[in-house]
């Protein structure tokens, strides 16, 4: 066991920390996270800045524009980003889910075409997996694609597509085969969102913001060369995407949670009047302990999986714990405001930051695979309990 940074890691961390200290001060105001939410162009510029300075795709192979650094440096990147209170690159879906899937399943042409603009943030990606009738039961996808010469003609509807209103590209799962089980009936396609027949309609969330969307597909034509994996192989490609969703994302969530805790501690110290002190102390301790648990669990699973491996089904542990812990923390921060917590926006403390966070965190145990689905995954694939379905 070794718990301190190696010389290489130390150098990486020091260099990154110094760069962030300077860049955050020059690019952002007092509240970078809120500013990034409110101003997409500013976040795009920040993303390009991160890329130009060489902080994006650091673990990728050199041939795809990466730096070939060990996975631990990716974790350090998230830790330092959280420490600096800086927003992450706008292309979260592209970097965390799409890129690893393209690297594993794509051919050379696809990698060369899609990876560089994904890294720079010039092309933002979204995910076209869920449908009104296929949420947790993803295999039930009904969006259909029919072959017409060298093109797929796609008809159907996708939902809960985060960033689709900003996205240039989409990873799309469609049904191409009839009369075979679903895990052999799906095909994975890369869709250019500017293709005729694509309509994006933002869905307003209970927070009032519109982060995700419905995507309607009417006779959308996608070249066969934009398939990832073979025809009918889509389910296996999806599995790659979802494993990365559980693995890489966990590091980002831990770092994000740490930043949120720092902010909550400041808020609670200045404002905690409506709840007893010991309640605050224990709530803060609970969150701090969870930050440590998530951080060390990510490192431990990474160690156990080997340098390049993904944590596999165990990765769901972090997602479950983070979502519930984040919900508890935001609830504590808001409850500490007492009756004034009913106010919102400019009339509320910190311009309503905790009102928004409290409500937004409700989605944490739903997005990216509900807690119930994550538990099913662990029950079946880790504990070896029989399948319920």
């Amino acid at each position: 066991m070794r718990f301190s940074d190696t010389v290489e890691e130390q150098r990486f961390r020091a260099e990154l920390r110094a760069w962030l200290a300077d860049a955050v001060r020059r690019h952002w105001g007092d509240d970078p996270i809120t500013e990034a939410r409110q101003d997409v162009q500013r976040l795009r510029d920040w993303s390009r800045l991160l890329h130009q300075a060489g902080w994006i795709g650091i673990t990728w192979p050199h041939e795809y524009g990466g730096r070939g650094l060990p996975q631990s440096c990716q974790n350090i990147f998230y830790e330092e980003l959280g420490r600096a209170g800086a927003p992450n690159h706008i292309n979260t879906i592209g970097l965390n889910f799409v890129a690893p899937t393209i690297i594993e399943w794509g051919d050379q042409d696809q990698a060369r075409r899609f990876l560089p603009p994904l890294l720079s943030g010039d092309e933002i990606w979204c995910q076209g997996f869920s449908e009104p009738g296929a949420g947790s039961d993803l295999a039930n996808v009904r969006t259909r694609a029919v072959l017409d010469g060298e093109e797929w003609v796609v008809n159907g509807q996708k939902i809960w597509s985060s960033f689709a209103h900003l996205a240039d590209m989409c990873i799309l799962v469609v049904r191409t085969e009839e009369d075979v089980p679903s895990h052999r009936a799906l095909t994975f396609l890369l869709l250019d969102m500017r293709t005729p027949g694509v309509t994006v309609r933002p869905l307003t969330q209970l927070t009032g913001a519109a982060e995700f969307n419905e995507v309607f597909l009417d006779d959308v034509r996608i070249p066969v060369s934009r398939g990832l994996g073979e025809r009918g192989e889509g389910w296996r490609v999806i599995m790659t995407t979802l494993e990365h969703e559980r693995g890489t994302l966990a590091m980002e969530l831990a770092a994000d949670f740490s930043r949120q805790l720092d902010r909550a501690v400041t808020h609670l110290r200045d404002n905690a009047t409506a709840v007893p002190d010991h309640h605050v102390r224990r709530g803060v301790a609970d969150a701090w302990v969870l930050v440590q648990e998530l951080r060390y669990t990510n490192y431990r699973f990474r160690t156990e999986a080997g340098e390049t491996g993904s944590p596999g089904p165990k990765g769901s542990v972090a997602k479950i714990a983070w979502s519930e812990g984040h919900q508890r923390l935001t609830a504590l921060a808001l409850e500490s405001q007492g009756l004034a917590s009913v106010l919102n926006g400019a009339s509320a403390a910190e311009s309503g930051y905790w009102q928004l966070e409290r409500l937004r965190s409700r989605g944490n145990s739903i997005e990216g695979g509900t807690t119930e689905i994550q538990k099913n995954i662990i029950a079946e694939r880790v504990l070896g309990l029989p399948r319920g379905r």
């Binding site: 301190s4 102390r281 224990r282 440590q292 504990l383 319920g388």
Partner: protein, 356 residues
Amino acid sequence: MDFSFSDEQHLLRKLAREYLTDRLPPERIGELADRAAGRDSTVDRELFEMGWFGDELGFVDLLVLFEEAGRALLPSAWFPTVAVVRPLLAASDELAEQIRNGRTCTLAWAADRARSALDRTPALPGLVGPGLLTTSRVLVPDLEQADSVLVLGLDAGRLGGLEVDTGAHPEVISRCPNVDGTRRFHDLHTDRTPARRVQLSATGIESLRARLWVALAAEALGVAGRALDFGIEHARTRTQFGRIIGTYQGVSHRLVDAYVRIELARSLVYRAAGIIEEGLTGDPLEIAVCSAAKTRAAGAAVFAAENSIQVLGGMGMTWEHPIHRWLKRAMTLNAWDGNPDTHLDRIGESIMAFST
């Protein structure tokens, strides 16, 4: 960060698991727990022969053994001997040498049941005449199983210790009924009993506590893992309403909840073991990690045992089914040196102070 164990540590775990599975199956644990004296002295001797008393073992090596010992509910004073007594001793003291040769020695610190935390350790009593000790200590772990006891006390602001040979003077042990028969706490009353002043190292209370917490946490991980396995085994095989009950989410998600808590706690415990092995540097957050490891691992053990009992249904509530032994050990670990609220309060205070 690298959380991997060395090949030697993997082997250590494998041998410990094999030995304990063979020598202390649940039926045997039940017999020992229900007997008047819960000691199996042949096991202590065999542990010695396997090198468990060797002082070349680092704390991460011990972590592996604590975890396996907890898994089997090993009833032995080996735990207090290597977890807390040995680090207190000066290398030159004869007890250190005796422990290397397999002697077990437990620790007596509390004078008052209401003040049982290590940081409430009272003054060291004086010896009268030719090294005779008259004192009372309460809640001494594994007292009747140990060869001797180290009475701890403050002496001019520093820790001091007196060793009483309980093997030669068993009359000093005042037996108390315990919830957990595999780790019992008894009272100690000496009355002009021979005692020896022990040379201690410079270890202070804070680092002793941190070490105890992580040792308890490691043991709790083992307890938790085995307790969960009882539930999983049952959920895989038991049929009701024509289906294996593990297919019901009401059942499977309970077990997953326990698994999640155990795995999160495991990461903390391993990290904390590294802190103890490398030595505390005075950073208050290191103490907080050790404290968190203890409270989360012991909490996970109680939670896992309770959920497994729920999954086992009526069978889980019987004396016959062994799961209650694991619940009781978990409750003991949870209560030892600070319950969860005490730990969380302290951590919360230091985090609120640290961030200013």
